[in-house]
């Protein structure tokens, strides 16, 4: 049985007494630890509905808290605070303020789909993580994560031309996320490659960087996708009770 409400045993909610005698019995010190009384009154009753309105979150209501997602999670193994089961619980009961404590790491889901593979209820926890990260950004709880910046750079190129060119993606992403492109390890990689790369191959990569690869006759696909994406953005903002983009 997982601990549903970890908040109850967080250090600030735990009370011990240096000197406490109850009914003549000395209960001082750690052996007698009390959980602080608390009253939760700020449930967000619409939280689950809002997450379910975003792509990936549709099946969150199916969860029965078995914990298979967290147990199989790649990121949890690196950072124990990354806990999909717990976040799904918080969303389902509407404990928004508790969820917000972890707002800066939820975007770190690597989409390995181990959770989706393990989930006995087809919750698609990977999708729920994406929907939750998306929700946090739409609601203004977090700035756009680097992952979102990368997704946007990539998607904009695909929608514009039908294809991507990796060099352009890397340059665009580093510019968007205000990081210097001259990273030691990227330079080292380039050096190792340059040492052996056949001249002809180097030429081809250079040409790809200069002349943008594109799918011929892509214009109509581009327009149809752009109009669909616009529709979806409006639908999502409405579901989250957010003003139309550009509205005051």
């Amino acid at each position: 049985m997982p601990i549903h409400e970890k908040s109850l045993i967080r250090p600030e909610n735990i009370r011990t007494h240096d000197k406490l005698v109850l009914d003549g019995v000395d209960v001082s010190g750690h052996w007698s630890t009390f959980i602080e009384t608390r009253v939760v009154s700020d449930y967000n009753e619409r939280l689950q509905e809002e997450i379910a309105a975003l792509p990936g979150g549709e099946y969150i209501h199916r969860c029965w808290q078995c914990g298979s997602c967290t147990n199989s999670c790649t990121v949890n193994a690196v950072n124990p605070d990354f806990n999909p089961r717990y976040w799904i619980y918080l969303i389902r009961v509407g404990m928004e303020s508790e969820l917000l404590r972890d707002k800066d790491i939820i975007w770190q889901c690597v989409s390995c789909n181990k959770c989706t593979y393990a989930c006995p209820r087809d919750v698609f926890p990977e999708g729920v993580m994406k929907a939750t990260a998306h929700w946090l950004e739409l609601k203004g709880h977090t700035p756009k994560s680097r992952s979102t910046m990368f997704d946007e750079e990539f998607s904009e190129q695909v929608i514009a031309t039908g294809k991507i060119e990796e060099g352009r993606i890397i340059r665009g992403f580093f510019a968007r996320s205000a990081q210097p492109l001259r990273q030691d390890w990227l330079i080292e990689m380039g050096k190792r490659l340059a040492r052996k790369l056949p001249f002809k191959m180097g030429m081809l990569l250079g040409i790809a960087a200069l002349i943008r690869p594109r799918t011929r006759g892509w214009g109509r696909s581009r327009d149809a996708i752009a109009s669909y994406v616009g529709e979806q953005e409006q639908r999502q903002r409405k579901a989250l009770s957010l003003p139309e983009p550009g509205a005051k």
């Binding site: 690196v78 390995c112 181990k114 992952s147 990368f150 060119e165 390890w185 996708i225």
Partner: protein
Amino acid sequence: MSGPDVKDAKARYRRVAYYPGCALEGTGHAYNRSTKAVGKALGLALDEVPNWNCCGAMEVKNIDPKVQTYLSSRVLSIAANEMHASVVMAPCNGCYHNLKKAEYDLAKDESSREVVGRISEKAGHATYQAGQVETIHALDWIKHGIGEGALRQRVSNSLKGLKVANYYGCMYTRPRHIFPEKDQGPGTESTSQPHFMDDLLEAAGATNVDFPLKTACCGGAHTLSDSDTSTKLVLNILRAAEAAGADVIATECPTCHSGLEMHQVRAEKVLGEKTSVKMLYFTQLLGIALGLSPRNVGVQENVSDGLEALKEKGLV
């Protein structure tokens, strides 16, 4: 749907529509080159899907999953309706995964059908209908199109003595429901313990080491946006391969491959953690076993110095 019958695969896979995808025109160029070279050497023909587009990768899915479904469906539609092909082969795990996912969504989900139909119509091309073509990975293509027996007979430069850790990554097996042909008993691929690459490289003479992280994640989705996590994940994979005694890690995905290469360098530069295992695409290894030159299968295009590992074993 139990998936396509593999019995007549030898005939069906002899000539397939080929979808290289964006990565194989860039960082994964060596995979493209070696896939084509191995196909040629084995008498398997590839017809590139004309005027293809990006499958949507993971990034477009994060913006909107149905746009990714549309993008993949356009590629399938060209293969089915313009090329009249019955099989599309995608060597990249990301492309392969997305085409399979589009196939699944279009078969099962009415709203995906509706959105894809609407965008396809506005875009002015035939809407792809689920079931028109079969999507396969380069591993299926060689495993079922040639088979270990025939492959063994064609090996002229056995990989004998080369210890290989076979790394499949995430997208080739997860989530299970989009791969209805897997987990169907003997002869089919397993989603928990994939073995097609092991089977092929063993037939080419290599020794497969017992590698526990075959389907672990390399953090490819966040390779640049959360590099520290990716470096840790990759380092786990590299260390596990070395602990298992591997000389090389065989890969079958351009994103995994370049992720392992990048973060091997990054682990060395940023964390001071040096590992020496080399990465080669499984098609590069098969090509070497079939007597092709390293240049022919693009070994020089890798960042990782696979040539050194091959020289050490006297394979080149």
